[in-house]
């Protein structure tokens, strides 16, 4: 056995120093390692004698009390957050869901939903191809009355119409009527 190996082995055993048979043989034949062994043994003994004062009962009582307080505080904080979540969580979720659906509903109506003018015109009993949007309705009886009055009063093919209250669609409806020859 080499001295280096002997010293390395021993330095790892400080705290539970022992020698195996091979090491004992080396120790008896090597004065340098014998000296090293004495030094290591002395170090171990001195280190072992360095004892610290353990935690006193009073210190432990204080530590326990402080620890309990910290745990209680953390738990009550957790319960507080849980209660807040229970109390306001449902309302918050409802608001989020409402916003979510209202946003997509509006988006769909405005952008993706096609305006079914045919069914609208059918429902309104308007026989021609007047284009209308779904949020404006043609007041057919009102237009018919206006048309009749116009024909009765003027009886001409004048394109000037003094009907300020008519909407754009109603105007177009009248123009179409005139173009179709229903109104002279």
């Amino acid at each position: 056995m080499k001295c280096e190996q002997f010293k390395s082995n021993l330095s790892l055993r400080v705290g539970e120093l022992f020698l195996d048979d091979e090491e004992k043989m080396h120790l008896n034949s090597c004065p340098e390692c014998k000296q090293y062994y004495k030094g290591i043994s002395a170090l171990e003994e001195n280190l072992a004698s360095l004892e610290i004062e353990p935690m006193t009962d009073k210190e432990f009582t204080n530590l326990s009390n402080n620890l309990d307080s910290a745990i209680e505080e953390s738990q009550s904080k957790g319960v507080r957050y849980y209660n807040m979540l229970i109390r306001y969580g449902a309302s918050l979720a409802a608001v989020i869901i409402l916003l979510f659906f209202s946003f997509f509903h509006g988006f769909k109506t405005q952008v993706t939903k096609p305006i079914n003018t045919d069914s609208l015109l059918t429902a309104l009993q308007v026989p021609d191809t007047t284009q209308v949007s779904d949020n404006e309705q043609i007041d057919t009886p009102y237009v018919n009355v206006l048309v009749n009055n116009y024909v009765e009063d003027h009886g001409s093919s004048s394109s000037e119409m003094l009907i300020g209250d008519l909407s754009q669609e109603e105007m177009e409806y009248l123009e179409n009527k005139m173009k179709a020859g229903d109104i002279l």
């Binding site: 790892l12 001195n46 004698s49 360095l50 530590l63 326990s64």
Partner: protein, 179 residues
């Protein structure tokens, strides 16, 4: 003891506060001794020990039970202690930082060769770098195996052994200076 630790830890994980209190009682001296030997400040040690148990309580769900509960506690305590010492070292460079070096108050041994030798050893221990000192304390005073220490500190066994050997060499040198 090992089984007790694990049974108690399982009960504590299930919400049994008394089981946790018992774990604190069983491990308080080990944690206190390790931290006190590292910091040398009794007040700081009590704070760090309390903090170790508080962290353990909060992170009980992370304790898998494949090691001893005390080993898990040692890993928390060593992490906190090394962080404290690193912070303290950083602060010592600042003008307002603490400069004093604390040393644990050891009980005076009867079998010590002389007060001078003990002083030399104490100084040599205090001069050890924190990681070497941690390895040395875990091995020499807490009687843990190199494998356990490696797991606690998250290092390889060979690194831990090297740290221990270097610590021993420095302590030997410190002892020689006073012979």
């Amino acid at each position: 003891m090992e089984l007790d630790d694990r049974v108690l830890a399982a009960s504590a994980k299930a919400g049994d506060k008394r089981a946790f209190d018992e774990l604190v009682r069983l491990n308080k001296d080990k944690m206190f001794a390790l931290v006190y030997r590292m910091t040398g400040d009794r007040e700081v040690t009590l704070d760090l020990t309390q903090d170790t148990f508080f962290t353990a309580f909060k992170e009980l769900a992370n304790f898998r039970g494949d090691s001893q509960f005390s080993s898990w506690l040692y890993s928390i305590a060593s992490r906190k202690t090394l962080n404290f010492l690193n912070r303290k070292k950083l602060l010592s460079f600042l003008p307002f930082g603490e400069k004093d070096i604390n040393e644990p108050s050891y009980t005076m041994p009867d079998k010590a060769e002389s007060a001078e030798i003990m002083t030399g050893i104490r100084k040599a221990i205090d001069a050890l770098p924190p990681k070497q000192k941690m390895v040395f304390n875990l091995r020499f005073y807490e009687k843990l195996s190199f494998v356990e220490i490696a797991e606690i500190l998250g290092k390889s066994v060979s690194t831990v052994k090297t740290n221990y050997q270097k610590a021993v060499e420095k302590l030997q040198a410190g002892l020689k200076d006073f012979r």
